[in-house]
């Protein structure tokens, strides 16, 4: 009699609330995961500027952008390579040529000044000298880039 009672009394915990919480956490992390962070090199320490506007609030920046990461020695970090300045200039020229080809293929024409619609996103290390940054800006300008976004930390 007592043996029959012990088999009937099963104490199973209710796992449903736990599962709910776990799924909520999974959903949170899935939404927060940033797949677009490939262009953002963690070797770069950005300077701090309080009035730099957050990207979310800005509707002026086009989707079409080219990110240039510049390390403290003035080298361009692109595609897993560390490129010295002369190589970086060639890379920028190649990128500009590609953008022009894409525009041509899409049937779009450049404006009379020949400026490209792409925004150059400049992520330069805080310890980079101005001459390195300026060299790259000049290379971009001579290849038709006019729009620049200089990145900084908000705080």
């Amino acid at each position: 009699m007592s043996a029959q009672m012990s088999t009937e009394l099963k104490a199973e915990p209710n796992l449903t609330p736990l599962l709910d919480v776990v799924f909520q956490l999974i959903t949170f992390f899935m939404l927060m995961i940033n797949f677009s962070s490939d262009n953002y090199d963690r070797r770069i320490t950005l300077p701090v500027a309080g009035s730099a506007r957050p990207i979310e609030d800005d509707r002026q920046v086009d989707e079409d952008r080219l990110v240039l990461n510049i390390d403290k020695d003035g080298h361009l970090l692109m595609g897993g390579e560390v490129q010295p300045i002369h190589q970086a200039v060639q890379t920028i020229k190649r990128q500009a040529d590609l953008i022009k080809l894409n525009l041509k293929a899409a049937g779009k024409k450049l404006d009379t000044s020949g400026s490209l619609p792409t925004t150059i996103v400049l992520r330069a290390d805080r310890d980079t000298s101005f001459s390195s940054v300026h060299e790259l800006i000049k290379a971009c300008q001579s290849n038709g880039f006019r729009k620049f976004a200089l990145k900084a930390m908000n705080s």
Binding site: V22, F23, M32, D127, F130, S131, H134, M153, N154
Partner: protein
Amino acid sequence: MQIAPMLDMAFQLLTFFILTYHPMPQEGQFLMNLLPAIPSTSSAEAASDAASDKLPAELRTLPTTLKAGPGGSLGEIIVGEQAVPTTPAELEKELDKYLQDPTLPFDQTVLKVDPNLKYSELMRVINAFSNSFQRAKKPPNISFEELPPGA
């Protein structure tokens, strides 16, 4: 219903997302239209200024020189022809005098920057200009030039 396997899988997924989660720090940006350096007295620009009933660009431009100190720090700032303090608060106060005065025509600036100046110091000055332009209700129109070495 046996939900233990599903819970196992959910925990595996959760572990994966926790381990691969790297929150991006909050980044901001200064948007600029930087044109290549051209002579300020070009006929096209003069014609456009005449058409828009504006003063010539060279008269509307507040020239600012940034000289580097030791280690690429900000050594000296010269606005117009006058040296101004390099601390952010005092610099902004000085810039406000130029940009908020209705009798002065300045609505843009050219930063002539020492090639050895650190980028963080340049951004500090851009930040001050951006704040002052904002207070003066003018669009922040900033461009760069490199000072010749030893200037």
